[in-house]
Assembly symmetry: C2
Homo-oligomer: 221 residues x 2
DNA sequence: TCCAGAAATTATCAACTGATAAATTATCAC
DNA sequence: GTGATAATTTATCAGTTGATAATTTCTGGA
């Protein structure tokens, strides 16, 4: 008998089915859903949820785990550091993989909704970017420019900040598409290449002036 | 008698007090608050809310109106177009005013929460950026580069996209601070100048290559 | 075929929630 | 002071909600 035609699923299958369905459901409805609404949409009785999930929060926690799990490939950082390709090509390759992973309705909406509810949930993921990937990208562009990156705490902060601005623009495309419900261009590859070009050109050229910006900090106000 | 010591406020004052309090409250708690929680926090009875607001949704609508109202200064676009200053200076001036308006906990959190709930709410505001400000910024940088901006539908889209990436990085600082609860550098002026520098330098330099990106679209896949 | 055990549903509860009506309390003009 | 009026609270309700217990239905092996 095909599993899909069964009325009584194996416990493991049913749990997986509920979880997958709940991810789509919560992505659409946000965190204000009720357990009855979820059960009705899935076509099972509401108490059945409590056979597989201790309570509503337990279900949400498992949703977060499932959505964030395995969306981050540790190989990305190694590839970014691989100087056999130009920094432009490396950034294009990384951003192609990164956007493929995160420009997903469920991922974007659940990420934002969960962060709004409790920033702790997304902290680990964001820490990975902030502590590892961003310093790496800045350092690699600095190497491309043939300039020593400016040093000091304020310079480090500014460097991270510049990369944040660049990097977040791709995540933000997901926000525009799946939260604002705007249309975004469908040729993502074109946009990645154009933005990488603007970013690398700009950072290479302005890198020598960064020290100056720091020195002038606060002077103009 | 000072109004703050009164027990029975004038209707207009009470309505304003509830609305202001509710804005802070909803910014913190999100849209899952109950009318009792709001009333308790404010120190009034729950039915009192219904004297001033028809129902829960009516209160939310008035919150949105109050938060989004007058956060957008129509003079900004005119200033961006005023070529008596360099494009860098104009962008710095604009972004200083813009960030001052929107890097506010209530604004950021209610903007995101309401967009997540119903994208219609933020549509008008975002349309203003997309239709008016972004094309203007791109055109002004093109003029700075002394290059005719590339033409055609795809070029327009790409141009808007590049500016989206730049512009959104400032809004996104608010997301980082008030939603992710990350620390962001306190010297905003420094960041604005550095990012404007990277952006203008990069766009001026890569502008002549944009046509090439478009021509190559899809070729590399 | 039949039944033991697992899977799912029905029935139910206490607490919560948005909303309304009735009763109470403060304010102010006279 | 006093009473008319507006502001606020208390009491209350019907529908909802998360969760549990009791009951029923299905599945697969002997």
């Amino acid at each position: 008998m095909a599993k899909s035609a069964r009325k009584y699923l194996d416990a493991a299958d049913r749990e997986q089915q509920i979880l997958e369905f709940a991810i789509d459901f919560v992505a659409q409805r946000g965190l204000r859903f009720t357990t009855r609404e979820l059960a009705d949409a899935l076509g099972v009785s509401q108490p059945l949820l409590y056979r597989y999930f201790k309570n509503r929060d337990d279900l949400l926690q498992k949703i977060y785990d499932e959505v964030y799990l395995k969306r981050w490939d540790p190989a990305w950082n190694a590839q970014l550091a691989d100087r056999s390709l130009s920094i432009r090509d490396r950034l294009v390759r990384y951003l192609t993989a990164y956007t493929e992973a995160i420009l997903d309705e469920r991922w974007i909406r659940i990420f934002i909704a969960s962060a709004l509810e409790d920033p702790q949930i997304t902290k680990k993921y964001l820490g990975l970017l902030h502590e590892t990937t961003f310093p790496l990208i800045f350092a690699e562009v600095a190497a491309e420019a043939g300039v020593a990156a400016p040093t000091g705490h304020q310079a480090d902060e500014l460097a991270i900040e510049i990369v944040w601005g660049f990097h977040s623009s791709f995540f933000y495309m997901g926000v525009r598409k799946y939260i604002y419900r705007n249309t975004i261009p469908d040729d993502l590859d074109l946009i990645i290449r154009a933005r990488v070009d603007v970013f690398v050109s700009g950072l290479v050229e302005s890198m020598p002036r960064l020290e100056g910006h720091i020195a002038n900090a606060g002077a103009g106000r």
